[in-house]
Symmetry: D2
Subunit: 361 residues, 4 copies
Amino acid sequence: MGNTFGHMFRLTTWGESHGDAVGVVVDGCPPGLPLSIDDIQKDLDRRRPGQSDISTQRRESDKAEILSGVFDGLTLGTPILIGVWNEDARGKDYEHMRTVFRPSHADYTYKAKYGIRNWKGGGRASARETIGRVAAGAIAKKVLAREFGLEIVGYVKQVWKIEADVDPDTVSAEDIESNIVRCPDPDVAVHMIERIKEARKAGDSLGGVVEAVARNVPAGLGEPVFDKLEADLAKGMLSIPACKGVEVGSGFRGITLTGSEHNDPFYNDGGRIRTRTNRSGGIQGGISNGENIVIRAAFKPPATIMQPQDTVDEDGNPTVIQGRGRHDPCVLPRAVPIVEAMMALVLADHALRQRGQTGAV
Amino acid sequence: MGNTFGHMFRLTTWGESHGDAVGVVVDGCPPGLPLSIDDIQKDLDRRRPGQSDISTQRRESDKAEILSGVFDGLTLGTPILIGVWNEDARGKDYEHMRTVFRPSHADYTYKAKYGIRNWKGGGRASARETIGRVAAGAIAKKVLAREFGLEIVGYVKQVWKIEADVDPDTVSAEDIESNIVRCPDPDVAVHMIERIKEARKAGDSLGGVVEAVARNVPAGLGEPVFDKLEADLAKGMLSIPACKGVEVGSGFRGITLTGSEHNDPFYNDGGRIRTRTNRSGGIQGGISNGENIVIRAAFKPPATIMQPQDTVDEDGNPTVIQGRGRHDPCVLPRAVPIVEAMMALVLADHALRQRGQTGAV
Amino acid sequence: MGNTFGHMFRLTTWGESHGDAVGVVVDGCPPGLPLSIDDIQKDLDRRRPGQSDISTQRRESDKAEILSGVFDGLTLGTPILIGVWNEDARGKDYEHMRTVFRPSHADYTYKAKYGIRNWKGGGRASARETIGRVAAGAIAKKVLAREFGLEIVGYVKQVWKIEADVDPDTVSAEDIESNIVRCPDPDVAVHMIERIKEARKAGDSLGGVVEAVARNVPAGLGEPVFDKLEADLAKGMLSIPACKGVEVGSGFRGITLTGSEHNDPFYNDGGRIRTRTNRSGGIQGGISNGENIVIRAAFKPPATIMQPQDTVDEDGNPTVIQGRGRHDPCVLPRAVPIVEAMMALVLADHALRQRGQTGAV
Amino acid sequence: MGNTFGHMFRLTTWGESHGDAVGVVVDGCPPGLPLSIDDIQKDLDRRRPGQSDISTQRRESDKAEILSGVFDGLTLGTPILIGVWNEDARGKDYEHMRTVFRPSHADYTYKAKYGIRNWKGGGRASARETIGRVAAGAIAKKVLAREFGLEIVGYVKQVWKIEADVDPDTVSAEDIESNIVRCPDPDVAVHMIERIKEARKAGDSLGGVVEAVARNVPAGLGEPVFDKLEADLAKGMLSIPACKGVEVGSGFRGITLTGSEHNDPFYNDGGRIRTRTNRSGGIQGGISNGENIVIRAAFKPPATIMQPQDTVDEDGNPTVIQGRGRHDPCVLPRAVPIVEAMMALVLADHALRQRGQTGAV
């Protein structure tokens, strides 16, 4: 259970990392949307392993196929099935940990929950599962751009203790893609890359923060009270592997301000009601107010490291596990398209919900 | 839309703050559970206004009634309707802001979304809506305690810049309720209370952090991949008014650690597999691992302050708004039972889902 | 579980027949709809007991109150809570069957399912639960009329073996309400009424068929493949107490025709594509085609009769049960507004879904 | 939207009849269930075209593949993706009706709903979509048999005006599969087959009734009030292409009985409470009572016939359409596994829901 996300625009992902394939079914995509495999592949290529020398060297081309829902280049309004065949499924790499629980992985909890687990490479808990999200997110982005004029960009805001200075209102996709760490602050990016290489050498790993912004958002998206826009965004973020925290607008930093310092005054900007500051992060009372929506997701350092670690096996016997082969010292650059995807999926869903209720957005 | 939460144990809240009543329907509560109004009133009394001199002085007894779903003191398995009649509904207090958008409130966004709003006291965006959550949460707590042996406590962890030192593994409900700010660190509590009184005098407001812990949690709760336990907890938290961020386990602080510092080693604790540290916050791969679940929710300072603020009216004319009468300088102590409720609702829902799938938890 | 119906326009009913109250929460009603208690009471009065001398003489005024979601006579887009206080809750009438399972009632199955049951008057299995449906249906009818121009009427088509001749395309609400059995075929209505009175005298009961038609339906409503319009209509009908069958268009009679006899030829009716016949009942491939939607629901004879019946008690001991007091020899006339309500709820839900997907209906 | 069915055991089907593939994702299957492709193929072979000389001669081997969710022959509790590649996708056969609306097909309604349609072979409205249902149903049957001891069989009860005499309590799968029309009444089966051959020669088509029975059903399945067992069964049936009616137990025939004739008296059968008759069809108040569940689904004659028919094209011009090539004169024998599948899916879903609520079934 729990493999479906969304209400009007909804996706269901499927597939284990070392099974035959992984993918997604998207249901509720509006009909008549031009959609090609290139739209999807572009984002998948930003997520795939091996794209730079700071990411894992696992080799996967991650070539997607659309098997349904598109006809003569247009969406039909029917379910869109997108699949990616697994290539580099070296089950053997995992043979030595068949019965061992890797620390801070999901090996133990899957076993506790299901009584059975696919011990080859993490199964559903693998980041390969996010291929389906990124594919669906690419479609959501097209819907948002085409039907609602909305744009989303994400970037690496922080790696370990190194934080970038980025203006979410003006940052461009080009700035973000200009370096392999996807941090649009070029000076800080250099340091991040160095630190990641250092971690790789040490067989260690690093976490950080991805920030994403939605721009040109219509006011009125979000369904009080439980499906508030920030509530669904938060769920989307914490459903991504390794994400342990999320904040919207001023977030955790806003709590050190007083109300008089934190409130966003309204003003009339040539007929459009706007706020002078945006500590609300574009959302008030769970509903978009037309300002940019800014969200930050915290990712813990990846659990896979190349250092020996104490653990136990399935029978509870103490043992030491030693990572072998390839590891990803910092998933942040590859997490950027995943964060964008989840943001796009939430916004597309809410845009369709709002349109259904009121006839217009 | 969006007024329902949960899959197997689900609630729907209803009611505007200045309408006739507010309340909740709980669907999916297991049958045969002993339930009295006292079980519910106890938590409502922790949430209601006017309970201490650091909370709002709005007078509401918030006396709840159970109108369905309970028979001879036992739940029937049918929907439980709980209602609270609004008493202190002074619509007149709001007359002067009938057409004015209060900064950082939901006045503007409700108008933008629905084209209409109840301008008396915030309507659905008012914290009165959370009465239904707290009532439902009290039921969820009973289900968790009785059927799964699980316990939840929450407390104020931080007010403004003042942070308490609390051990989530040992803190007791008595410690928490021993002072009016619901902070179990008594020395820090004194400072928090002083700071809140200061803010009240200044007509200003303060935010902070509520931390909550679930103890004696069975391993195996949480539904990968979208309904991960932390994803649903995050949604629950950010659906609470004024919540702008959430973190689980090490959260935002965990990102400054490396993987080798952050991973939680497994060990065999007399036959039970446990982790030596709990940076995962009791959840791995979206599934509980049997350790305590620790979550922190950040609340911005309340938007209602007694100072003059620049804003616009519905026609976009600039104006100055001045709060009148009563305000709540810090909602944190009253937010504690709400955070506990959302945590209980998520865990009860997932416990029933897991039981359905596997026949046992 | 299972007390909620609908996706975009959704209702949750609550309340036991001999509890304090029964009612409904409606979520997803479009904002800005004029709504008064009279809109709702009108249909409740068609459903309530005691309205004629062929229905049960249980006395219930069934006066509804709206407790939330409406402000200054307009819907807010927030949940609408409607409640009706139970008046004639003579628990004592049921005392003698506290531990006895009434044949073809839900006493035994509720006990088997929940381990507990409200033995006073059927609890949730009572037709009183449908008050919430009728109230919500009245709102759905207003939405359909106002936003989509659609109209729904239902009537008694058959009582026992007596079947009326009615043209669904032209029958009017006035014709239907012109007699107490709500059958617009006046000659047949006389026979139906006689037969019902005869059954009442015999302490027996009669079933029959309610037919309903939706007119001026926009083409395009219905979500293949599982939420086909006829699938949701069928679910709606069989969720009504005592309904044991449903058919759309030609239904069970259509199976004796061949394809060449059954197919509905298309033609161009002054620019609008229509079908010459309507054996499809206005739905093709699960989607409305613009023709009138015609549905028939079969109701078994009510289980409550005044004759002695063999049964067992909760311990399995054989016993004889004898109905006392009041019974309803034929629920059909009172079922008409319920059938209309379920039809309206399904169509309103699908109209909003379609509008969300495509921006227009 | 609308391509998902079920709450705890849920499936999402995908694929157009003349796209690359069709299939299903099953979410919520309990872990640890032995599952091989043979379990699924067996039922797919009963559904596939070309299996006898009374079904369509379209050639499809319908060989299924499991791409996820199964590991070492056991289900993982993760989504199960099953796909079938389309082989006999002769788009050219449909070229002549690219812009023509076939009578009583879904061509016109898909165009009206989505503004676009896959004109090759019906797209999602094709019976090929049911491959995913049958595959998922095969899994549901295994869950029901293994975890709840429940068995389901379906058969052809009526073709055109020819009705069989079958005892649902004793009919065996062997009896059903003993002839190509899947009617366990051998004498009647001969007549049915003759009549179908006659229809084929005439280029015409025939409808009928499939009856299905669930045996050894635990009491207590079904969720009042909207997700009553018969309500979900009805939805399942009417979601099948060409199904226009459904009845449970006595159904439409029951309405000619009086209450005293129709009620099912309870008795004690060696400690188990049972009913002497089963007019309720195994369901009372929406909940299974432990008796066999009997359901009948009416299928209209297939819309595809080989005779010339009046219709219009997309511009509204009158035209005559003439079927070419292959048609299926009676889908009933192939509909049997689909009806069984929908019944199994509903029951599996409700069994898991009940287990979640009460901890046992």
